[in-house]
Symmetry: D2
Subunit: 307 residues, 4 copies
């Protein structure tokens, strides 16, 4: 795709102004109270499943700056106040990263100097984001989650780095699973990225490495038309290297900067797919609860699917 | 209460062995699939409400070690890969603290050298907790939340530091609100701690300060009899100073070490009470999703109530 | 002093271009090999004295963001490689602060958008300082240290917040101590700031607190004329509140932005003064060794005086 | 060397009790005022040279937990107090590491449960080291530095991983360079470790990697007999894998736990050797100034050689 075609696509899916010039919730506007009720009505077995990768403290090719986790206090030193005693810890983290489950705030991505809704990127300073920080999602995202499991469709364990999933394939997956992405849905997109990591070990999935599998840009039009509320992929939705001339991460630019979509990165669906297969269904209630971090460009989180 | 009476109470509410010697889920065992279904059936209006205090980066008497939040990257330096550009941040945190919403792992509290289920406290080392870390709650806690709003009952804005809420008063609050704490419930206990902070400013709520309001030890018997699944207070449930001889934080010792109860600290219900009053109900679905932090003694989190 | 007079003073002491347009060493250019030899020739008794405040991990009015210091590993967990075992720690730090001994890089201060030598302040980005970072002092600062002890002159324990030391008083102190600040010297300036802290406890020494004692702007002309190489105060040299209209920290603006002076903050001379009195001399060898932190705006350090 | 022979060597070089049961300075007791004077008398040209590796923020095989360095504040946001403006940064660090120049406290190493002077290793808890922390070196280490440059002797660029330098070779190097290690000296030991890293790139120098060059255990007897005051190597003095049965890091055990020697790790002498060759001398004044970190097991630092 040429740079010019990309800009045309950007404009086509652009939601700037759609919900007012001050809007900071973007595609979450598609999720109505009725959608939340519908989501809750999907709860039958009471199973809940985490979509988070356990926090990975081990350096590796996709984890060059591993979280720092230290004990602040264990039971090895007397407590000044007597009984009981407490153990405490400390966690320090660059949580945007290729093996850390996190959600992106709308201020996380700028395309040609503009954030979502056309706001200037210099609203993010050394003091944090003054607009569209992660607190825009403070009260959580609750809705119907729909998993499209591409490796299942292809009968492979995972997609290989560089592979792209087109709109057509997403639609085929819908049919194979008997689901259909609809307005206000939370779209869980599985390439098997984390499964590959579990079985083959970590790899450098960036531009100076082997890359990753993700969405073809054609899929973005579908997400736009279907009025998807939020996007939860394993991997981060991107194909690396991208097939867009001069745009390294086109999916982020389209989803976040153009569409204002609530996007997450680096989830894992390995526990989820077992439950889906067991219950023979790929829709469920999803609850996403980012930390209320003022000025934050995102948040680590543990998204929960409830069946 | 004397030290001896406390130990008797400890033994009375002790759940060690109740769910097997290897159990690490404690009172979460009270929450069954039926409870999750019931919780989901409470979703009508689709409103979701955060119970988290926005992350407080400002030092103060109850925040002596404020979180460190820095930008890793803003839009002020060229991106080596061209468009789009990304903003990223870093968050470092001693999340156990008196104004940070967090959940405690069962390994967080030891009474006389023992964790819940009689496990030795030296299972927590400089390398983290080897048992009963926060990953025991990896798949989240989902259930019916019931708020008992004590300031509402007393017709005050908040309880003053040092005030204790007895079993009798909890039961009176149940009647006044038309709810009843039942097996497997998630108990939200409001003293108005955070409301006081919002209106009067932060105060030192520890033993070298003004203290805090919380549960009388008599209430613990009630929670035990009712088979509460999880405990979510503003403040942390403790009365400071405590009325137990030689035990500084008796509620933590009883709830966590004796009962194995999933306990959280420092929530805020100021947004929640508005919705409760509006909907005239004090029960709702609750979703708690701690980070999957291996070895962690707890986790920051954003608990969500869904109406 | 009016804003206009301040700008005239700024221009008067301005060293921009003095050592070339690319210079990043500023007043360190005054320290020649002969000065280093002279400094070494002052070593007689072999006593060495630290000028650093022990790292203060306790929050307080002048320490709102205390350093984080945690054990990475103690001897409580078996070492995978057997004997010997190792204990390790972690230190995290906003080291510019009012009770942390540190040195400022020349990029640390901008006056009206300009750094020393007229360089643009936007050379400091979220990625660090691209010019005049602390690595400009990588090979250390070695020279003759001269202490002017103002409380000694005034026969008080310390100067009170808000008090200013004029050029005249500095010259009187020189005479009283029998020393004279000369070209290339390292000037140690004592107000007794840390002594006050030790005896009265910490106080808020900023604009929203009680303030601090420091140099009157008249003293800057003297430092300029005398061609001082580096400045090491207890406190940070500033009088708070300042007596310059509209300039909150005039000494930093003059010393660092105008003069390009190697400046340090928050040293302590309480051990030093004892040695000075014992040896009846106020000159000695000084070695300053900032960490080689690429992009850094300064460094924590432990300056050493050798007698 | 067998485990039994190692324990015999340990006992032979053991300084426990030599300077009293409460001693925490170990071999620094060898450095007298006369040694400091002698060191200062070596200052002729006034050149000062850093022995620190610039802080390395890039993850790699010998840097699995790179330092976190972020801007706290740049010039992109208005300063509440007007002019001047300030830029500040934050540095977080596990400073014991194989490419970070640091000094070890005596509490850093335990052999069979004992620290130097026979003190129990459980004196180091989650609250830090209660004895023999790095503040024992608060006032710095000043003395005569002597560099033995083994690659120079062997006419190679560096020693290869696994190579060991015997006592005999050290003595040959002394003769080749016309120096002799004497009582109270600071011994700089060069294997070319950092030169290799600069030219070939980083490598895993641990037991699960390629290893490193260092001292043969025979050399330790020489250091003991010569009464060396402090040890500053590139690398860390260890041969990996070690040739001692069952002891992974024998040099640390001998130097720190047995001898109480002030030891540093991961220096770089690439700038130093140029000055040595230029001045045709391998002795100079050295100043080591660890941060005064209470409870710390070591400190990052920038050791300075002065000619």
């Amino acid at each position: 795709m040429s740079a010019k075609e990309f800009d045309e696509l950007f404009n086509k899916v652009c939601n700037w102004g759609r919900w007012g010039t001050d809007d900071v919730r973007g595609t979450l506007n598609f999720i109505t109270p009725a959608h939340v009720r519908t989501a809750a009505s999907l709860v039958h077995s009471g199973r809940s499943v985490s979509l988070e990768i356990p926090i990975n403290k081990l350096a590796g090719p996709d984890n060059p700056r591993p979280p720092s986790h230290y004990m602040v206090q264990t039971y090895d030193a007397p407590n000044r106040l007597g009984q009981p005693q407490f153990a405490k810890d400390y966690l320090a983290w660059e949580f945007h990263g290729d093996c850390h489950t996190h959600i992106d705030a709308l201020c996380h991505v700028a395309y040609k100097g503009k954030l979502y809704n056309g706001r200037p990127s210099n609203a993010v300073t050394s003091q944090g984001a003054s607009i569209m920080d992660i607190t825009a999602y403070a009260h959580g995202i609750v809705g119907r989650g729909v998993l499209l499991d591409i490796p299942r469709l292809r009968r492979v364990k995972w997609l290989e780095p560089g592979e792209a999933v087109t709109r057509e394939e997403l639609e085929t997956a819908e049919k194979a699973q008997g689901v259909r992405l609809a307005e206000g849905d939370i779209f869980l997109f599985r390439t098997g990225h984390h499964r590959r990591r579990l079985e083959l070990g970590p790899w450098n999935n960036g531009y100076n490495g082997e890359g990753r599998a993700g969405l073809d840009t054609s899929s973005i039009l579908m997400l736009h038309e279907r009025k998807i509320g939020a996007f939860l992929p394993d991997g981060d939705g991107e194909v690396v290297p991208s097939n867009v001339e001069g745009v390294a991460y086109p999916i982020h630019a389209l989803q976040i900067a153009a569409m204002g979509m609530a996007c997450c990165d680096s989830l894992q669906f390995e526990e989820l797919v077992n439950v889906c297969e067991l219950e023979r269904r790929w829709e469920f209630m999803v609850v996403v609860a980012p930390l209320r971090l003022p000025g934050g460009t995102g948040s680590p989180f543990n998204p929960i699917a409830i069946f």
